[in-house]
Symmetry: C2
Subunit: 332 residues, 2 copies
């Protein structure tokens, strides 16, 4: 149980595989935080196993995470983002079509009221209705936090265009002007990488290495830009097996080579118009290890990369709570 | 135990996940056959679990499959193809570099002698040393059988060029003149399809259908040829989720849509020079269901498709036994 003076908001980043709760004070400062593995998938599985209604199961998880904070300050507003707002979540929130201003006053939050009388406000996701529709849920809030942090630090001005790149399980490329998302595209790079290196035939000849082998990674990048790259990812990845068989790739290079291939194919697929505009910078928002890989791959293409401040999601929620008027509720 | 008059050869198609043994007579006729799930993977796993040397474990499996036939005719020559010749198999056989005549007299078979004095002759695989090396093991023998069957049936003449397409876990496109393989390319289409539809995030919104939904399949093919296709397979497959979320794709269409996307990307990646030569035909060698899909996709591109006679691997082994002089050993 935490009692923090000056708490103004509870913010929950509630994704598929984990839930992070933040107690926040003036200016978006994090006063306390908790993390649990009770992502939406774990909550719904446990609910199914115990024949508990989903809503009740989410409520129990919420109380485990935030009950202590609310006991001290029952009137704290609560905001949440991520898959908790999906149709497998607590309550389904909208997808706002792009272009969408992430900091617009008119954003409609989806409200869920617990039996104890607490209202949880879920932030809507985004949908891009391009040739193929594309969706995000949670990343929009992370992006707003990243932009706010970058502007506070003076590394990005308010009117500038940039590309925000969120590498990961589902890598997302997002074109932004000011706080408005113009368009975005998803690549299943991380999920396919995990499959290929953990479970596919390629994993059988692979040995996990302690350190990244940058030569193997670069080799993968180079293959994509060579004539062999025209064979597409379904073809090039098979060389992570054949090159081991021919003795041209060491077993402990296989994973980094595959990483280079997949990131190379992702980069090769980006609409050239996105990069031709010479954006202010590509703002990279992955974890440290993934940032190293994408930074290296992007800089080899002559692109300018800036690293985002990590852990920006709570600040994004703070911003949304502010523009939607949630914070005024507790100004005593 | 089977006693068949006129038996001339034992041929074993011994792959990763199963082993098929054939008792063959004059002209390559199959007189009897057995199938067991004791593929190379099962054999080596069992060997590891029971601390049995690999060689002995393969020998035991071989005796279970073929011991009865050999009891009656101990002098029958034995030939085998497939992963049994890999470095995780019974004995490592070569990869012959392409161009390679599948019916060349000089093919060197790898010999393994059992304690009972039986010699097993393992057929070498093929390696294509293109920009990226590519390998096959077992398919070369299936191809020789397919070509022999097609020429016997008069649907292919001996000098003609053709493309042999073996769709499956690792789809292989093979350029052939006569019985010579000029070049080949592998696509991990089937393995990636199984992952995406069984285990990825895309599978969560999918419902398996009883019948192919050809509209959904064609839609996948069309996406690849549309501007969205430039985003590459790592991008387009994510639409199998977003289109369900937007209500534009039914859950029971997801798998056929993904199938269309992946086969579409495979076809889009084929070197145009391969198809520009207007080959005699594309000889399709998959199972019936997979053939339906590839035939449909290829014919939509205006390409001429012919179906191979299924189950041609034993005939390929018969041909190789013949050209390498194995059959003369038992001519009494």
């Amino acid at each position: 149980m935490t009692n923090c003076r000056g708490a103004r908001l509870i913010a929950m980043d509630w994704g598929t595989s984990s839930c992070r709760a933040y107690l926040m004070g003036e200016g978006g400062v994090v006063l306390a935080q908790r993390r649990q593995p009770s992502g939406t998938m774990a909550v719904t599985r446990r609910a199914s196993a115990t024949a508990t209604p989903y809503g009740l199961a989410f409520e129990q998880s919420f109380e485990e995470m935030c009950g202590g904070w609310l006991e001290t300050q029952p009137d704290l507003p609560v905001v949440a983002c991520g898959m908790v707002g999906s149709n497998h979540g607590w309550a389904e929130a909208d997808y706002r079509p792009v272009p969408a201003d992430l900091a617009a006053e008119g954003i409609v939050l989806t409200r869920v009221r617990t039996r104890a009388g607490v209202t949880v406000h879920i932030i809507p996701g985004l949908i891009a209705n391009s040739a193929l529709p594309d969706v995000m849920r949670g990343e929009e809030t992370q992006i707003l936090g990243v932009l706010t942090n970058s502007r506070r630090a003076g590394t990005l001005d308010y009117a500038s265009e940039c590309i925000v790149l969120l590498p990961g399980t589902h890598s997302k490329w997002v074109r932004v002007t000011g706080t408005t998302v113009n368009d975005f595209t998803t690549y299943m790079t991380g999920e396919v990488y995990a499959f290929l290196t953990d479970d596919s035939i390629l994993s059988r000849l692979a040995v996990r290495a302690d350190q990244p082998d940058w030569m193997a990674f670069d080799r993968g990048l180079d293959v994509v830009r060579s004539p062999a790259g025209h064979g597409g990812v379904l073809h090039t990845v098979f060389s992570a097996r054949s090159l081991v068989i021919t003795g041209e790739l060491a077993p402990d290079q296989v994973e980094d080579y595959i990483s280079g291939l997949l990131i190379g194919h992702e980069l090769a697929a980006i609409d050239p118009a996105w990069l031709a505009d010479e954006p202010n910078a590509i703002l990279l928002c992955g974890d440290a290890k993934l940032n190293d890989r994408y930074r290296r791959a992007l800089e080899r293409l002559g692109l300018h990369v800036a690293l985002a401040v990590p852990g920006s999601a709570p600040l994004g929620m703070w911003e949304i709570a502010q523009v939607t008027g949630l914070l005024t509720l507790v100004t005593l």
